[in-house]
């Protein structure tokens, strides 16, 4: 593993922890942005440039802008002072989190103990290189093989947009 990858991983883990424990919502949102950028950097370091780019365009460039925009518009400046420590709830959440984390750990451990049982798809990095790169292969399979599911997902998004407009309009009328 390259040292840059390790630095990115450590930084993103640190930012994720900061996001969880920060008291101001804007710090949490910006730490999440940092995690997303670091993840994009990791994708880039392992040579998956398209995934890195999409990570930046969709998550860092669109969704996080919306998050930060709404946090600033709602003016949550007082949130920091109103924040109350509730040790019981926090302890319970921490215990549940630790349980889930342990479960993941066991699952990953079992997976590595079982050896190479992954069912490999037809694409290998070498094949993708000969077919003309990730962008080309992904776009091609998206618009031929997975055409219907692609359209259905965009329909679902359209339903979500229309639903949001209807709900918001009823509230303001």
């Amino acid at each position: 593993m390259s040292p840059v990858l390790i630095i990115l991983a450590v930084l993103s883990a640190l930012l994720a922890v900061t996001m969880l424990f920060a008291k101001s919502p804007i710090t949490s949102a910006l730490c999440l942005l940092g995690v997303l950028i670091m993840t994009a950097g990791m994708y880039g370091m392992i040579g998956e440039h398209l995934v890195a780019t999409i990570q930046l365009v969709v998550y860092a460039g669109a969704i996080m802008v919306l998050f930060i925009f709404s946090i600033m518009l709602l003016n949550l400046n007082n949130e920091e002072t109103d924040y109350k420590d509730r040790p019981l709830v926090f302890g319970a959440a921490l215990a549940l989190g630790a349980l889930a984390f342990a479960g993941f750990g066991v699952a990953i451990w079992n997976h590595f103990q079982a050896g190479d049982v992954v069912v490999k798809g037809k694409f290998s990095p070498e094949l993708i290189q000969t077919l003309g790169g990730n962008t080309k292969v992904l776009s091609h399979s998206l618009f031929t093989q997975f055409y219907v599911s692609f359209e259905v997902i965009s329909l679902a998004l359209l339903v979500a947009v229309v639903g949001a407009v209807v709900l918001a309009k009823r509230k303001f009328d």
Binding site: I26, A40, I54, L56, V57, G61, V65, I68, T135
Partner: protein, 358 residues
């Protein structure tokens, strides 16, 4: 260490140094040109006492900026307040990494592609960093804890988010024409066929207008709006922190000019008539294959730089010609005119390419 290990790092470092040096080195020239050019367009004299033709004026400005008090507002959120100007400069500089400045040069039998990052995501990478350009405005405006700054930040971010859509759609129409996201393929396509702006004039126009909004240049400088909201998102910034925002604007302009040139005006493809000069130079000095390629690459870099210089001039020209939009006019233009126009253009281009190919 032998040459084979050093060479990849050395050529990469040289390319990064060239691009960063170019982006930052153009800033003083542009500051000078902005002031002299605006004076020229308005029938004034402009700064002319510092140095020859006022050419040392940017240097005087820099010295002035360094001697100002480095002031931080008492109520500002210190960390985010300082993060804003840094992010402003990072995003456009990163986007420059995928702009190709020429095809390739050959040094000692090794090929060097004149582009920092050769990635298969290509031009999409620029969109990723164009999306990050909204953060410095939000952060700077919000962290200053000033009503006018917040107003400027909200206006600026609403503008950038709105115009990003029409920019993306007109970029998409070009990707359909070229059939590739690789900037080298785009330049090759344009040198074989016509320039992209001639193939897709509406797309070029929409892209050109949108990129003005993305770079916050007049007539879209509504985020600053000095006559209405005093200075917008960088109102509370002084000294070199303001200068960073100022530099970021020019670096974003260079990035935008390079992007327009690559997508719509032939990129590093040599200007018409240049082939004669190249042939004459090669014949004069009797270059071999490598020498010929290097000469070609030199002229390609010159072509791209002259195109960038032209668009930088257009940026200044438009700024001092058109008045600023009102906020509702700006939103109407973005959502009711450019967005439908770019969508219709995308459909038309798709149909055109489909029938041309079938």
């Amino acid at each position: 260490m032998d040459m084979d290990t050093i060479f990849p790092f050395a050529q990469l470092a040289a390319k990064i140094a060239f691009v960063v040096g170019l982006s930052l080195g153009v800033v003083p020239i542009m500051v000078w040109f902005e002031r002299r050019g605006s004076a020229w367009m308005q029938g004034r004299v402009g700064p002319h006492r510092t140095g020859f033709f006022g050419l040392l004026q940017p240097l005087a400005d820099v010295i002035k900026f360094f001697h100002k008090e480095d002031f931080t507002p008492r109520n500002a959120n210190k960390f985010y307040y300082h993060l804003g100007p840094m992010m402003a400069l990072i995003a456009p500089l990163c986007a420059m990494a995928v702009i190709p400045f020429g095809s390739k040069i050959i040094i000692d039998n090794r090929e060097v592609v004149l582009q920092i990052a050769e990635m298969d995501a290509g031009v999409l990478f620029i969109l990723a960093f164009a999306g990050l350009e909204v953060y410095p405005i939000i952060l700077g405006g919000w962290a200053s804890r000033n009503k006018y700054s917040v107003l400027g930040a909200l206006r600026g971010s609403a503008q950038i988010v709105s115009y990003e859509i029409s920019m993306g759609l007109s970029l998409l129409s070009m990707l359909i024409i070229y059939g590739s996201v690789n900037p080298h393929d785009m330049v090759t396509w344009q040198s074989v066929h016509w320039w992209g702006a001639l193939m897709n004039p509406f797309g070029a126009l929409v892209f050109f207008i949108s990129i003005f909004a993305e770079t916050n240049r007049a007539p879209f400088d509504i985020a600053e709006g000095d006559s209405e909201i005093a200075g917008g998102y960088h109102l509370e910034y002084g000294a070199m922190k303001f200068a960073l925002f100022f530099m970021a604007e020019y670096v974003a302009m260079i990035m935008a000019s390079a992007l327009i040139s690559t997508l719509y005006f032939g990129g590093y493809g040599i200007l018409p008539g240049m082939q004669i000069i190249i042939d004459a130079v090669i014949a004069q000095f009797g270059f071999g294959a490598a020498g010929a390629q290097n000469t070609l690459a030199l002229f390609q870099v010159l072509s791209l730089l002259s195109k960038i210089a032209f668009f930088m001039f257009v940026f200044v020209w438009i700024r001092w010609t058109l008045p600023r939009f009102r906020f509702d006019q700006l939103m109407d233009l973005g959502w009711k005119i450019l967005f439908p126009l770019s969508l219709i253009n995308l459909v038309a281009v798709t149909l055109g390419v489909y029938f041309y190919n079938s």
